[in-house]
Symmetry: C2
Subunit: 346 residues, 2 copies
DNA sequence: CTTGGTAACATTAACGTTAATGTCTTGAAT
DNA sequence: ATTCAAGACATTAACGTTAATGTTACCAAG
């Protein structure tokens, strides 16, 4: 009767209670299939609820029960395919378990990361998945102080101090270098731009380990922190004349820039430079470039992150654990041997 | 005193009230800088709040006030850079206005879109930004029934019936075709895979309009719906021998696949085929491929979407409006004239 | 000296849900 | 017949915030 006016009032437990003659509490329990309610009553209430188009008010529920069924996800930003693909994976996992995500962006700035943590807390998320952009402990301390369970994703911090899900970055870099070595490259370089928490360090270590094993002398190893495109171009030219042919780049996104750079100089891949990146974002984003890359098993990391966080939310108080996921190298032909007659196994 | 135990209780207005001697209500008003509170009191309360690390409980606030300061965003998924970049823009706009986003993915499936709408409603979002993946009105009817303000983003539906923010797709396609024509191409094709609501139709129309104006005969126009890579490759080869040289592809992501396809066949861009895509996702995602594209002004669309939605949330009951954003063509050299001596202006 | 107004705060009552108890009926065991 | 237990539902009281009123003290105008 005259209820179809502008506002379109929401259906509440109260409404269902009136329609069925039960109390609000009984309705609440019936809709949750709790014991203490007869089968018949339960079905009748659920039928009426469906008929009236009842949707639980998550705010009220959260306020009372302390559970929002919402997880906060703090990433750098969607413009980075690593984050966007990871977010996609997290979405599916969370959805399948009845959780919604509040996605917040740190833009890789510590202050914004802090702000994102604050927002997540005020939104009463049940837990937080944080992709840290800084080694600072402020965000972590804040989450601890607020009593919000959290899991650090994809970035090494102080290992073992907090729950953490990462892929084996050191091993990934090792595989990358090995891939270049097997293709016959003997003078190799590692390029990076940002020190993303301890990932950069890990990758550099793995790179050097492979070179050690292969007996590559110090004079044939190069590590370069990029400043801008011009400098990188200059460096590449210098390497070209020095005979450096194998490049391992911190991540695929940075590798794209290197490729652009190489192409602009009129050089070619893999003839002039062989290239390996990290993250294998091409697994989901099929852009037309041949780039070898280390696959960090994003679906596995995403799933493990959600699962670990859920167990913490449900009171599992084990000591912090670090879950390390295996990596694998995906070859797309950006590292073909420059001298075809050298057997790849040597 | 012994408050630093496990749970780490949240700080509430009650706590601040006790510490300052004021009532909960006064504290609430002080923290919102409302009138009716003396300057001194206000400052003192805010200081104590900051000291105790108070964070407003958004759930409780939402329950009472009916406002969650949260917007629902329903996109296809982050694996598509169009959505991920758009989401980034929306994030910044929303954040700047004190809103959080709950991002939900339809995976371009109508049932999941419906489910996402349901989730958004149960989360009490103040409004919804929907990137429709279907022409079906079900989602729209559901949002209307729930009384949730919404704005349709980037996809034409029945024009003028709902609030809608889009870029001028027809004009964009027109510019794309014109770009190809100016580069000297006389036999042109339009390729697409999905009919994304009415966008495909719009783009096809604009494409044909440019061809009409240029007097390209029907026998020199081709429209092709892609099925799989093999068929596309076959078609490209056929076109190659027929003299088709200009390709306009529905969107950049599809254009990537075309580029891969062309490269695999040993052909080159722009020598063998000139290419224009749509969305200009390379503006944010600098991957190393020269691809001309139509820029749909994502920042503008995002901002307008949020603004329009906000005005609806705040009770603006104007008739539905469609905001049309201008587009521009971004040239990256994928369409160079195949015969260099033909002036580009002809 | 009263009246009226206002600044500055307090009181009260929700918002919709749910946890913790209460109550009553029924049937079975003693 | 009495006791007990359990099934099925009702009552009550929060969760933390805020809108709508109350209350008080103080000052100026009549």
């Amino acid at each position: 009767m005259a209820k179809d006016t502008a506002g379109a009032k929401r259906v509440t437990l109260q409404d269902i209670a009136q329609h069925t003659g039960y109390t609000v509490n009984t309705v609440s329990r019936a809709l949750k299939n709790k014991s203490d309610i007869s089968r018949a009553t339960c079905e009748r209430i659920q039928a009426v609820a469906a008929e009236l188009g009842y949707v639980r008010n998550v705010m009220a529920s959260a306020l009372r029960s302390g559970r929002t069924k919402t997880l906060g996800v703090i990433v750098g930003g969607m413009a980075n395919p690593f984050y966007s693909i990871m977010t996609d994976e997290l979405q599916d996992e969370a959805m399948a378990r009845g959780y919604s995500l509040v996605i917040l962006c740190s833009r890789d700035q510590p202050e914004l990361e802090m702000q994102a943590v604050e927002t997540a807390i005020s939104r009463q998320v049940d837990g937080i998945l944080l992709f840290p952009c800084t080694a600072s402990q402020r965000s972590i301390e804040r989450m601890k102080a607020a009593g919000v369970p959290f899991v650090l994703m994809s970035r090494y911090l102080e290992r073992g101090r907090e729950d953490c899900v990462v892929c084996d970055e050191e091993q990934g870099a090792y595989l990358a270098a090995q891939h270049l070595l097997r293709a016959g490259h003997r003078k190799l370089a590692y390029l990076y731009t940002y020190d993303v928490v301890f990932s950069g360090e890990q990758r550099q270590r793995g790179f050097l380990r492979a070179l050690d094993e292969a007996g590559i002398p110090a004079c044939d190893r190069f590590i370069y922190k990029q400043q801008n495109e011009q400098d990188t171009a200059r460096q590449l030219l210098a390497w070209k004349s020095e005979g450096v042919t194998g490049l391992f780049v911190f991540c695929d996104m940075e590798a794209w820039l290197i490729i652009s750079c190489i192409q602009k100089m009129g050089l070619r891949i893999p003839e002039d430079f062989a290239l390996v990146g990290f993250d294998n974002i091409q697994s989901k984003l099929h852009f037309p470039t041949l780039l070898c890359s280390v696959d960090g098993c994003m679906p596995g990391v995403a799933r493990a992150g959600i699962d670990l966080l859920r167990s913490r939310i449900h009171g599992d108080a084990q000591p912090p654990q670090t879950l390390l996921f295996p990596v694998k190298l995906v070859c797309r032909g950006a590292c073909e041997s420059k001298e075809k007659h050298i057997p790849a196994t040597r």
